[in-house]
């Protein structure tokens, strides 16, 4: 039956839609509030994220709000730098800041945003700012320059139109960075090559200690003069001076606080600057620059096409605000993991060694604690399988290059940051394998997964393996670690069994049950235990503190994290009714006496449900497991309405490299991967009247919602390919076969749909 369907479902080109998909994106969503997104130019998964930085001169604490460089409320732009995270809760990057300056006086410091003219920064207005995927433009009022940005995969292109008659300059400020602080910049360099190419590098510490980035820059007009300046004071010993002084050519400058002033004279046409990055070396950056030829307009058109193709994986029919939210969400999910290897395949690994990747593109920027949940599962539906295989091969190659011999935890620019907890590269790999994606080396991957789950020095794993839980007196955040390890272990077991490695499967199946060892049935909460077996006291399920029993959360959020065995959890909680009551208690909790302002990334609160951070993300879907899918539908309605808007402050929390957006995208379509590795998506309710996915295998899968309206927020009926679907989940293979998932929406709950045990989503003990 499926085979017969398949032929009919293989996609023909979609009929012309109303406008390009890229036009439905609002790249400013998340640039205010807590979203930490950036509005600048980037290609899908591009190595370059060329975006305005409105402020970087901040201490570490102040930096949080400027994690992506740009804040919508800021009045000035400091410059345009080439690397940014989309929605990270911690930050770094902001590399190779370029700022156009016009006139005879060139300031080399950014100056005070409150004092116009005090530096090279410039005021700007949103009225003269526009942006879309792969393109950003703004008028720099003080400089009198129209600035445009676009980007290819490893290339960013600037176009600066200077006012007629004013001398054109660029300032390259290698001192500028996000999460900057004294001593961050370890070393940097500028080289002006004989052919006019400017190359350079920067080594920094901080979030990723010893990170190296190289660049190459070419200009559409020749330099009339240049100066390389070392702004570092008090260098006890600088060595001997290199050739070049005053107006003489300076070929090279090395130092810790470098700037370049580039002069172009009075130009009769806009200045275009092509910049490529490399993680390998300056020659790699030059090669990357040459691998993507073309001027500003050519790169802009090519990248717009790439975005239209990528976003065109789904054709969405929904109310305008929701359509914008969903396309923007999809856009945000297609930014990371970003390209890290050079065009020739060379890449720098976590051990700082350069290797060559063959058969795949190395990717980095892995915010895995966030993205294992929905971001990576989404990519298996909207991107070619090779994209996921790039991810898996990159993870495995990184592990093999890791000084620790384990998979990435939170990695960018090829380097490990040891941020957050778990070994969540594991569910990403298992999810891919179990979905039948096999363009990677599975035995090597399983080996990497087992190694990561067995590295005793990491996050209390030694204790976990010995005792069946992480003891809080040996390791902070022990409760969260215990349950996340147990889930990750379950995905290892699943993949190992599918590979016929029953030895590994048995070992990790056992560990998958270790969540029980930290669950206090008496209080009904996951709790941290001491090495002596006792639960740690005092216990306050609302407390959120760094280094506490939990990770960026408390007992309310973390007690629900058993994706591999929700049924067993719910039995511990006393059954369906008590579970529903406890879920309700979470959402309806009265926070009025609580203050979480000390904790970063605790935003988007609905009672003790915290949508702005990931531990809550699957919780609204759990009513399904207790036989009350209509309650899930209600909660999703509540969350979507309160947590997402098509405005700069439209994300209630950090987008976390696409996870917040992936949640919305799945939820908008009506289902969500509560347990990656299960090959099931739990059905919620759709927020689109129709969405047609063109799947990686070329087939089409349609979601339709008859009668959808604000009032009709409940699912009355569901059919899959015309047949009633009595269960509250759908399997991955059912989607990949192509077909139609059709909802009939109603104003009142259908409390009889999918309530039976067998109709509920996967759970070990439920089957």
């Amino acid at each position: 039956m499926r085979i017969i369907l398949a032929a009919a479902l293989v996609a023909a080109p979609l009929a012309a839609q109303t406008g390009r998909p890229s036009e439905a994106v609002n790249v400013f969503i998340g640039t205010g509030g807590e979203g930490h997104t950036y509005p600048g130019a980037t290609a899908p998964f591009g190595m370059v994220q060329l975006s305005p930085d409105t402020d970087t001169g901040c201490t570490i604490r102040d930096c949080y709000g400027h994690a992506a460089g740009y804040r919508y409320d800021d009045p000035t732009i400091q410059g345009f730098s080439h690397t940014h995270f989309s929605g990270a809760g911690h930050s770094d990057l902001g590399d190779v800041l370029v700022m156009p300056v016009a006139g005879d006086r060139v300031a080399l410091d950014p100056g005070d945003a409150k004092v116009p003219g005090s530096g090279y920064r410039s005021r700007f207005s949103h009225a003269r700012e526009t942006a879309s995927p792969g393109y950003y433009a703004v008028t720099l009022d003080d400089a009198g320059v129209r600035a445009e940005l676009t980007a290819g995969t490893r290339v960013g292109v600037h176009r600066y139109a200077f006012a007629a008659g004013r001398a054109a300059h660029l300032v390259i400020d290698l001192r500028s960075s996000l999460y900057n602080y004294p001593g961050k910049i370890l070393w940097s360099g500028l080289h002006l090559r004989a052919d006019g190419t400017l190359t350079g590098f920067r080594e920094t510490r901080g979030w990723a200690p010893g990170r190296k980035l190289f660049f190459a820059m070419r200009f559409s007009s020749p330099l009339t003069d240049h100066a390389f300046v070392d702004r570092e004071e008090k260098v006890p010993y600088k060595g001997f001076a290199a050739p070049g002084r005053g107006s003489d050519a300076v070929a090279e400058k090395l130092g810790r606080q470098l700037e370049a002033q580039l002069d172009f004279g009075r130009l009769t046409k806009p200045l275009e600057v092509r910049v490529a990055l490399s993680g390998v070396d300056e020659n790699g950056a030059v090669a990357n620059l040459e691998a993507e030829p073309g001027d500003f307009d050519a790169i802009r058109v090519a990248t717009r096409g790439a975005w239209d193709r990528a976003l065109g994986a789904v054709d969405i029919d929904a109310p305008p605000a929701m359509r914008t939210n969903l396309y923007t969400a999809l856009y945000h999910t297609l930014l990371a993991p970003s390209v890290w290897s050079d065009a020739d395949g060379r890449w720098r690994g976590p051990d700082d060694q350069v290797r060559v990747a063959t058969g795949y593109t190395v990717r980095s920027t892995f915010s895995l604690w966030d993205t294992f949940r929905a971001e990576h599962p989404l990519l298996t539906l909207v991107q070619p399988a090779q994209r996921t295989c790039d991810v898996v091969s990159s993870l495995v190659a990184s592990r093999e290059a890791s000084p620790y011999g384990i998979l990435p935890v939170w990695q960018f620019a090829g380097r490990e940051t040891w941020t957050m907890i778990g070994y969540h590269a594991v569910p990403v790999i298992a999810d891919a394998y179990l979905k039948g994606i096999r363009c990677f080396d599975a035995p090597r991957a399983l080996d990497a997964m087992v190694a990561s789950a067995s590295y005793a020095s990491y996050g209390g794993l030694g204790e976990y393996m010995k005792r069946g839980y992480v003891p809080i007196d040996k390791e902070p955040e022990a409760a969260s670690k215990t349950v996340e390890y147990a889930y990750d272990d379950w995905t290892i077991a699943r993949m190992a069994r599918a590979m016929g490695r029953t030895d590994v499967a048995a070992q990790f199946d056992k560990r998958a049950g270790y969540w029980r060892n930290s669950f206090d049935a008496k209080s009904g909460f996951l709790r941290a235990r001491l090495a002596n077996g006792a639960y740690r006291t005092p216990f306050d399920p609302t407390a959120i503190n760094y280094g506490s029993d939990y990770t960026e959360g408390n007992a309310w959020q973390y007690s629900w994290f058993v994706p591999q065995d929700q049924g067993a959890l719910f039995r511990l909680l006393g059954g369906d009714a008590k579970t529903v009551a406890k879920l309700d208690a979470m959402f309806d909790f009265d926070n009025s006496k609580l203050d979480y302002s000390h904790a970063e990334d605790i935003a988007g609160l609905i009672g003790q449900y915290i949508h702005g951070n990931e531990p809550s993300h699957h919780v609204a879907y759990l009513y399904n497991y207790a036989g009350a899918p209509w309650r899930t539908q209600e909660r999703l309605t509540q969350i979507v309405a309160s947590q997402y808007k098509p405005t700069p402050d439209g994300l209630s929390g950090n987008d976390d490299l696409g996870q917040m957006s992936a949640w919305l995208f799945f939820t908008g379509l009506g289902f969500y991967p509560v347990a990656p590795g299960s090959n099931e998506y739990v059905i919620g309710r759709p927020f689109v009247s129709r969405a047609v996915m063109t799947l990686p295998n070329g087939r089409r899968f349609t979601v339709a919602a008859d009668g959808l309206s604000e009032a009709n927020r409940y699912v009355s009926q569901v059919t899959l390919n015309g047949k009633p679907l009595a269960r509250s989940f759908i399997r991955h293979d059912e989607i990949m076969a192509g077909g139609e998932l059709r909802f009939v929406m109603g104003a009142v709950p259908n409390k009889g749909w999918a309530t039976a045990k067998a109709a509920r989503p996967y759970s070990i003990s439920g089957y």
Copy 2:
């Protein structure tokens, strides 16, 4: 005739000598006084110079005396580090300091040399210290450890015998360095690999900004425990902690002030530590380690063999002290330029990019202002031609990788330091080419020479090309630069003409005469001129100051630097008699009222002749050009007796990477290359009764001195291959043909020998 001779002269193995040549070397010569040599273990031209550092905790000024890490007078050893310059006047290196520590308490700071037990440093005594080429041993009294060192090309091997029953530890102190100062260490890393290999790196600034060095280390006994420690205080933001605490395994540490403590427990046999270096990356260091297998004894024996072969290029019969001096001098000339490329040919260039060298070994540590004089010319006689081609190919490859597009000036670890003046890679290359050494790419080399001589931004070259001299109001040390450029230019012209590039030859022949533009015939001195043509006043021919008219010298020394045209210079000075009188005035100058203590490297004074620094090195030979070779013989007797001793303070100045030693070696054999590029050696007087050189072409050239004694210090008669030699120079091809240069020595000067114009050494205007 020569052809017939050749067959007879092709070398058969020499009859067994009395002892190995390496046994004649006293590696402690120069480790006291001003020599700046080190006594540690190294192979010929080895990348590794594994040697004790007696003190490194000094400020920049104090560091001068510890330029090579070891001072013979010091009472303690701080540790054994892997890189050292032999005789540099400026310094750096001292990388990867290793110190054995015994017992239960391990200090991580070196402590105070005056307070025994205050740190990991240890007292030692010369009575329990021994060293020979490729081997060093000492008893560390405080640690109770017998320490031995040896080295291969890219490998150093330590052997530490701990006292029975005491726990064995090593401290690796990556903070330690020569010419250390706050902020020098930019970044460093330690990695403990799963196979037990310790790898790491260090990036430093200072003399060579942005220098990178990588290492790999393996141990004959397994680690029982280890700790990596970051000693940096006040890091504002360190990122998140990597796995491993307390007794857990720590796989990696990155930071700016790193140390490792390695524990081995109680050992029943000596601990051997094999260490390889690389300028490329840590994997390169591992590969270099594996490319030279073998334990301590195997490496020691192999390197001793290599030294015996290298030193065996000359078989010397001389009074014991002189024989020691000469073999030690030869040893010192065979240390640099040292190997820089990895075993697989990869190397890091002056632009920090990694390339692969094929067909030659990349060498670095080019102290060219010193070594173009006699060190490089000597290598053409005592080393295979490939060694010189390695040098030339390395210089040319460096130039092609240089951000400035010019040949190295003073380079080490592949990086330019811009120390001293001139473009003296040029005479090194020309000397090689003109001697018929052709295993390098001559057109590329000539291109590099011309580029270096035409780089306007370098050292006033733009002005020099425009005006015919460097004006002192535009560029410091203008007088020295003018004459050194003119000489370098002459060698370009010579090589270009030999290559048939008459265009280039004509251009640089003209420039070779520019020395005249800075020579004040009225005062009889080379003087600095202003841009307006006037000589700068006040003028004091005895003044020595940094940034003065001259480079590490004054008018007395520099007025003799016209190697390409001494005849013309002497005519300017008023002819032979006046020249001889002026030379005598220099040597016999009364310094009693002068104080040069402010100037480094001004040592070894004989009047205004300063043997401790290079500008004087050719001067004693200039009497020959004025028809008074017996005066040269007298001065050489005077210099050798006063400036060289077989004792730690036996060098009167910095050995300067072999130049001081090369002077002695040539002089000891009776001739010296006053003008490299002329293919002539000026005859002085021999200090050996017999020396047999086995030349690179396999032939033998013998120097014999009949009747040599302290009294018989004059040359009475000279024959070449049995025929009287009436001229005071010998040509390179005459040496390379093999044969015998025989002197008959006498107690009184032969004032009639080689006085005729035609009998004098090469001079443009003299021919």
